[in-house]
Symmetry: C2
Subunit: 470 residues, 2 copies
């Protein structure tokens, strides 16, 4: 696009939305040209990021989002919805002709329905702000991604997020009651706020995980939960991951749903729980929430299962430590400064496959030249299986081979997961980093997704390059 055309589009959009809602200063473009994918951060540190977008628009209403969508459609400009920019898979990488649509001025809590237990909120609301407002009224959304202070509610929907308390309160698809989306053709889809319906396929599901490729989520209605009457904390150590995973399986199989069930492998137990780790190996944290009689019964059952599976009780202290530290993570920049490539990779599998996934992924990543450490924990469990959240660090053989080493670790993890029958993503999504393996994951489903994409966005303007393989 010629500089004159860039200038003309910017001024035309400023005309449509108002001067204060369209930005193309260096700072605005730089902060909207990427998400928090490791490779994006690495490239930013090394001045290797490619394009800056055409401009950033800041709509304040669904009507203004429609105006931007129509402008983009009329001029065939790519459009990239932007929430907190906290995604870690590279879903945000606008080209030079793209309009970035920052939703964060759409941040109002529109309705708090205490009888029907839901909150209706604009999609650009930051997660921790919503949670704070709900807490003040005696409620919680039950959704605690580690990014809660960095992500928006619309971003939760777009990425199919999971929160730390998911085993009791559900993932975002369980918590989402209704939504409003501006579609690529400029029309507005609002789903009805009802507890359940059988009125054709559930249309909310099209946008849960679409990563901005099928529309702009503008409003979200989430279930809310009265603050729990009781919260009980327990921890247990296990000899190895397989034994700990088996304990979790038995807890879930019996029908219990602790809010938090986290099992760290030996490496991560030492890393995150130095005080507790003397004499322990794999550490399991359990938080029970609910009515008092419920948590007492659940905590006793959990203790019984863990003892029966060879676990040793370690009391509430490790859980209290985790509750304080859970959202503190070292920045990617701190590793990049030391010449390391690092990342987290979350996958999922059924119980009969999960121990194999753990061992194979750790072994495969550790076999990558330069790999220093690969470790994992389970943090979201179901009666059918659980996730594994791996972390790795590697020192590239030479600085110029950093991207290659990083991508080799990813390839090792993805291929090992697929070989073992797991799913390549539990809750971070696809973005750009996982696109090469989406066909192996979904099979014919990729063609179904492509057909839906073409049906709703025939010009392919919505967040191109994300999710769907070329």
């Amino acid at each position: 696009m010629q500089p004159a055309d860039r200038e003309q589009h910017r001024r035309a959009l400023a005309q449509v939305l108002g001067e204060s809602q369209v930005r193309w200063d260096e700072e605005s473009l730089r902060t909207h040209q990427r998400d928090t994918w490791f490779l994006h951060v690495w490239r930013a540190c090394h001045q290797r990021l490619a394009d800056e977008p055409l401009c950033v628009v800041w709509p304040r209403s669904t009507g203004e989002v429609r105006s931007v969508v129509r402008y983009a459609a009329d001029h065939r400009l790519p459009l990239v919805p932007f929430g907190g920019g906290s995604g870690v898979c590279g879903a945000i990488a606008p080209t030079a002709s793209a309009i970035v649509l920052d939703l964060r001025r759409m941040n109002h809590l529109l309705e708090l329905n205490e009888t029907a237990l839901y909150a209706r909120v604009q999609a650009g609301k930051m997660g921790n702000e919503l949670e704070g407002e709900l807490n003040a009224a005696g409620y919680s959304a039950g959704h605690f991604p580690q990014s809660i202070a960095l992500s928006t509610v619309g971003g939760w929907v777009a990425t199919r997020a999971a929160g730390q308390y998911s085993t009791r309160y559900g993932n975002i698809e369980d918590i989402l009651l209704a939504l409003e989306v501006v579609l690529p053709n400029g029309s507005v889809l609002r789903t009805k706020t009802v507890p359940r319906a059988a009125t054709g396929p559930d249309l909310r599901q099209l946008f849960l995980g679409a990563e901005g490729t099928l529309g702009v989520v503008t409003e979200v209605t989430l279930k809310i939960f009265p603050r729990p009457e009781s919260t009980l904390l327990q921890s247990f150590s296990f000899a190895d991951m397989a034994t700990g995973l088996e304990a979790i399986r038995r807890i879930l199989r019996a029908g219990w749903r602790p809010a938090v069930v986290r099992l760290y492998d030996a490496v991560e137990t030492v890393r995150h729980f130095p005080a507790a780790s003397a004499g322990t190996n794999c550490l399991l944290l359990v938080v029970s929430e609910g009515p008092g009689a419920y948590t007492v019964a659940e905590a006793a059952a959990v203790a019984g299962v863990c003892a029966g599976a060879g676990g040793e009780a370690h009391g509430p202290t490790p859980v209290e430590h985790w509750l304080r530290e859970r959202n503190n993570v070292p920045s990617f920049e701190s590793f990049i400064e030391r010449g390391l490539v690092v990342d987290t990779i979350e996958v999922a599998a059924t119980w009969d496959r999960i121990a194999t996934v753990y061992h194979e992924v750790v072994a495969a990543v550790q076999a990558v030249p330069g790999a220093l450490v690969a470790s994992g924990h389970s943090s979201h469990s179901y009666a059918q299986g659980t996730n594994l959240y791996f972390s790795f660090a590697a020192r590239p053989p030479a600085p110029e081979r950093a991207e290659e080493t990083y991508l080799e670790c990813w390839r090792a993890a993805m291929e090992a997961t697929l070989r073992a029958g797991g799913s390549i993503a539990h809750h971070h999504g696809i973005g750009r980093v996982r696109r090469p393996w989406l066909r192996a994951e979904l099979g014919e489903g990729v063609e179904v997704l492509r057909a839906i994409k073409h049906a709703l966005d025939p010009s392919g303007l919505f967040n191109p390059g994300t999710l769907l393989p070329d």
Copy 2:
């Protein structure tokens, strides 16, 4: 279609599948020309059913389903997937050129995974047969529609079914772990058997409630549940529906999830519980299932909430009566013989609207000329709201006005539900009877559904006339 063409297609399909798997005898055509929608039964009783289909095919494998789908596509013949034929909304009404695809020879339990708690089963398996085989192994699918002996597992998916124990075990969309679908273009979509994934939109959801319009469900993987350690039964009476509904709301709000929570209005309490109804008004049945310590805590909490909301305990006897009688319903024919039109209509709404929906729907149906009785119960509850399952009977002013009177009762119920902010269908689906109100329910969602339909089935061959309005 000319008789010679009909004959040619029949013989060609017999060539493709084998003689024994293609039928066009009178009995086969008659038993596959309709589902159990009241108007279908009424028309059958009065020899007023319209078309009989071209033929009925009985595939035994996914490969054979593909062959039929390809034949239908090549010759542009409509194709109507058929399970148990127990649907009550008119989704099955093949035209004279349609191939009806009866799935019931695909009835094998393919895998029972006791570690990961799932059962993989061909879509034509009858519900009660699956449940019986699971019970024999110590498990349950947790899904008990009243039609369990008449419906297939594939039909459960296609119609977005709900079972009587849904409040604990979930509706079919919660129980469905994976599926296989033959798409209109003849390709096969198999979703991965994983507990949860963030790999784009959840493609299972396209087929949950699609009523055969987007593909043929050929295989279903359902979660299974170990038989509960404990089951506790309670019942309570309430002065009126609003008071009983408020008690349910409080039980769910506190975080309890009894397997069964059913509240009958005064009319239905007298009808279904003659022994218990002396001195009662609205009757609430509660079944708690799970670990022993769980059910004891839940039953005590339920009793406390009900007492606090003005309920009076009536013990387990009414629940035992319901458990025995729950799937015995008088046939439509028995009413038709008496000159009556009758039906059931299930809707849903959030807690702040549900009492209004109850009163407005009952009043609207009772105001229809000829209406004899309108009543309702709540049978599927959520923290956000509940369903209402209405029944009505009417005597048309003249026999030739039976259809008009019947449809007038439906119109009254649908319009009253929409006015009160409810959803027009909780779990029976749309079929033909609810199509006139789908646009009022979904708004722009109808256009989204239409776009998806066109993307997957551009020739419109899959179960035309169902779900989507013209």
